[in-house]
């Protein structure tokens, strides 16, 4: 048995990490956060050049035909570097839906351009200030077009197209809408983490292409798949925050010694490490379940999601505390991680929802793995 990524995957991870270090991704996060741009185009181009947007896309559609394990290691590094790019929207969400549900024509039309980074996609699903349910979707698909309002669409003002969940006559379907087409209007939002862009999007008879009529099943599956990938971003961020705290403590002196000698600090950081290791191990199982499309995926995804959300929140919060007053200043980077931890905790649904999903999946599986 080998419950570890392969050497090739670990080398790829290291390459991505080096790139993000070299490109100073955290500094770029701050530039986007403070500036007017929606994302860092240069960094995005670098990631595209490495082929990262093409990982899960088969070679026949212009991709490089690797799997989700490779995507997991990339996600961890993007999370560590709190990269200000629309990667999760375009790769975890839009690409995965097209790969799993679109017909051949659509795949041929979209996947090569997604792989090459020529276009960026996203998902427009949420409408209200609650977790979406089949009953809560009011956006409608009728006669080849979409009408309705979608809220807090990630990278909505960057994406070239979005996949939209909408009611049809017998359920919820998924539809592809070109965001430059008529009937689409966007409003960019101020959010808790401005290093990643979000918009409200209104559709008024916007032309749409059907991807699947069983949209709800597809969304549920996508939530599980992307939960694993988001979880890897979260443990990457958590580990970065833990390391910041440790490094700062070692260099900070008070009462005649390094504050890293104080148990209040050591034990705080040990607790971060514990939360991180539990989350990371759950992420590994999530990666296995995702890459094998295993029956355990709903349980594995929820477990990875819940523990990684917790780990990132704890680590980013207590990283500020470890820094003392300076940690609460805009100038220090601590808050960039704190903001990102909240964003990732919100993006695909809250802790309460995922904890409930976890127990529901265990009830169904009738045996806790």
């Amino acid at each position: 048995m080998n419950f570890e990524f392969s050497d090739e995957q670990l080398i790829m991870k290291e390459e991505v990490r080096k790139l993000l270090d070299k490109e100073n991704s955290v500094k770029r996060n701050r530039n986007i956060l403070e500036g007017e741009e929606s994302f860092d185009k240069d960094l995005w181009d670098s990631l595209v050049s490495m082929g990262l947007t093409a990982i899960t896309i088969p070679e026949e559609f212009g991709g490089i035909g690797m799997g989700y394990l490779e995507l997991c290691v990339v996600a961890e590094e993007l999370g560590r570097a709190i990269a200000p790019v629309p990667f999760s929207s375009s790769v975890y969400l839009a690409t995965t839906l097209i790969l799993d549900h679109a017909n051949k024509d659509l795949k041929e039309s979209y996947l090569p351009r997604l792989a090459s980074g020529e276009i960026i996609g996203t998902l427009a699903h949420t409408e209200k200030s609650t977790h979406p349910t089949p009953d809560s979707i009011e956006t409608t698909y009728d006669g080849g077009s979409i009408t309705g309002n979608k809220a807090v669409v990630p990278d909505g003002d960057i994406a070239d197209f979005t996949i939209v969940s909408a009611k049809h006559d017998s359920g919820i379907g998924l539809y592809l809408v070109d965001l430059n087409s008529s009937g689409v209007s966007k409003e960019t939002l101020e959010t808790f983490d401005p290093s990643r862009s979000h918009s409200n999007i209104s559709f008024d008879k916007a032309p749409a292409i059907e991807i699947t009529k069983d949209g709800w099943g597809a969304i549920e599956k996508l939530m599980d798949q992307s939960a694993v990938l988001f979880a890897f971003e979260q443990i990457g961020g958590a580990e970065a925050a833990m390391t910041m705290a440790k490094d700062y403590a070692q260099g900070r002196f008070a009462f005649g010694r390094s504050i890293a000698q104080f148990q209040a600090i050591k034990h705080k950081i040990a607790d971060m490490y514990i939360a991180l290791q539990l989350a990371k191990s759950n992420c590994y199982f999530g990666a296995w379940a995702l890459s094998n499309d295993a029956a355990e995926l709903p349980t594995a995804a929820a477990t990875a999601r819940v523990s990684s959300t917790k780990a990132f929140y704890e680590c980013s919060k207590e990283n500020i505390q470890t820094h003392g007053g300076m940690g609460a200043t805009w100038e220090f980077d601590c808050h960039l991680f704190y903001r990102r931890s909240r964003l990732l905790a919100a993006n695909i649904g809250s802790q309460g929802i995922w904890k409930d999903k976890l127990i529901t999946s265990l009830e169904k599986s009738n045996l806790p793995a």
Binding site: F192, G324, A328
Partner: protein, 403 residues
């Protein structure tokens, strides 16, 4: 055990309440939400209070106070807090600088500086913390050197609230770097308009800028403005901090009531959130903390009313309320799910303010960790940690920069 005032307390409360009712309306509404506008209101209100003898009522009458008892001070502040009044500007002057001036300044200085502090004409700030000296305040490095009758000060202070609108400041400096840490400090007050002072706002993670960095470049202070002996500034600083305002305040911001009301309307997982048992359990925990702090405060006021001095046990208020605020804000955002990152929700901006405000609250005025030390040592009598810096010349104590 009752919640009623004694007859004396009731009389006093009525006097206060009647006076406030008549007088609060005399100050103009704020023109806008700017600091200047708020400051103008604050000055107007302090002037009114002063004229009727309600300004800094715990001060001696001779300096513009009222010689009020601690309980009278509590009652006044309870009644005044029923109105939204901008009193924060004067907390440092009237609460900390004033008492320390009374103890250490010359008669002449007291006569000159205390009345305008009391009537609100002059605002004071406190120049204590430094980038390398927060929890360990005695580790400050701002240098003061005496030449003739004049001191020259160089260095940097941080977390100085109101430095930019203050007229005067109280300042702690190191006059002897070869003496042990607590022995080489000297304390002053100074004119904030002195040449060589540079003030830069600090932007906090919540976007606010309530604090400043203050740089000292060859700032001159006459020796007559020294408070306490040369090298004995630490004692003066401790006295100042003991006079810190009676910390009655909670963290401020989202608390139990706000989240409870929110859960009554916000949907969560198929019903209003308050009907979800997991939500109810969290609400119950927060209510117990909220209620526990509320009645802890009442127990302290009762002790005050018997003439007891409130001890450091009040430290629990800040630890509990700041952490509670952070938890509530994070949880409330969870209820709003993915839309929660947009502050423009029914309750979203209050939650966002809580989540971004709590980290500083957990640090300012003593970190959670320092406050737990204080509880263990000063309330429960447990021993201090080993202090490798004790008795060691300051310039031989390890610091980050030296390693």
């Amino acid at each position: 055990m009752d919640f009623n005032d004694t007859p004396e307390e009731a009389n006093f409360r009525k006097e206060v309440s009647d006076w406030l009712k008549e007088n609060v309306k005399k100050i103009p509404e704020a023109e806008d939400t700017s600091e200047n506008s708020s400051l103008a209101r604050a000055r107007a209100w302090m002037q009114i209070k002063h004229e009727s003898g309600w300004a800094c009522l715990h001060w001696p009458k001779e300096y513009g106070g009222r010689d009020a008892t601690a309980m009278e001070r509590v009652i006044y502040s309870q009644e005044e807090s029923k109105y939204r009044l901008p009193n924060g500007f004067y907390e440092i002057g009237q609460g900390m600088a004033g008492p320390v001036m009374m103890m250490y300044a010359t008669e002449e200085q007291k006569e000159k500086f205390l009345p305008p502090m009391a009537n609100g004409k002059e605002i004071w700030c406190q120049l204590f913390s430094e980038p390398g000296a927060g929890s360990d305040l005695a580790g400050i490095k701002t240098k003061s050197e005496l030449d003739g009758d004049t001191w020259t000060v160089n260095g940097q202070k941080v977390w100085t609230s109101g430095a930019h609108y203050s007229d005067y400041g109280i300042l702690i400096t190191r006059s002897d770097f070869s003496a042990p840490k607590h022995k080489g400090l000297t304390y002053f007050f100074l004119d904030m308009k002195s040449p060589g002072i540079e003030i830069r706002p600090i932007k906090q993670i919540n976007g606010g800028a309530n604090f400043n960095e203050v740089y000292f470049n060859d700032v001159k202070i006459p020796d007559s403005q020294r408070l306490g002996e040369v090298g004995e500034g630490w004692g003066v600083a401790l006295t100042t901090l003991m006079n810190e305002r009676l910390a009655v305040g909670d963290a401020g911001g989202v608390d139990f009531k706000e989240i409870f009301e929110f859960t009554k309307t916000q949907d969560f997982n198929g019903d209003v959130a308050v009907k979800n048992d997991a939500v109810r359990e969290k609400l119950a925990d927060w209510y117990c903390e909220y209620s526990g702090l509320k009645y802890t405060k009442m127990r302290r006021v009762s002790a005050l009313s018997k003439g007891e001095t409130p001890g450091p046990e009040a430290s629990i208020t800040k630890i509990v309320s700041a952490n509670k605020m952070q938890d509530i804000a994070n949880f409330g955002m969870d209820l709003i799910d993915s839309s929660s990152i947009v502050p423009d929700q029914s309750f979203g901006s209050a939650l966002q303010a809580g989540l971004l405000g709590a980290p500083l609250l957990r640090i300012a005025g003593g970190t959670d960790e320092i406050l737990r030390n204080i509880i263990a040592e000063q309330v429960l009598g447990m021993p201090q940690d080993i202090r490798p810096d004790k008795g060691v010349p300051f310039n031989e104590i390890p610091s980050g920069e030296k390693n």
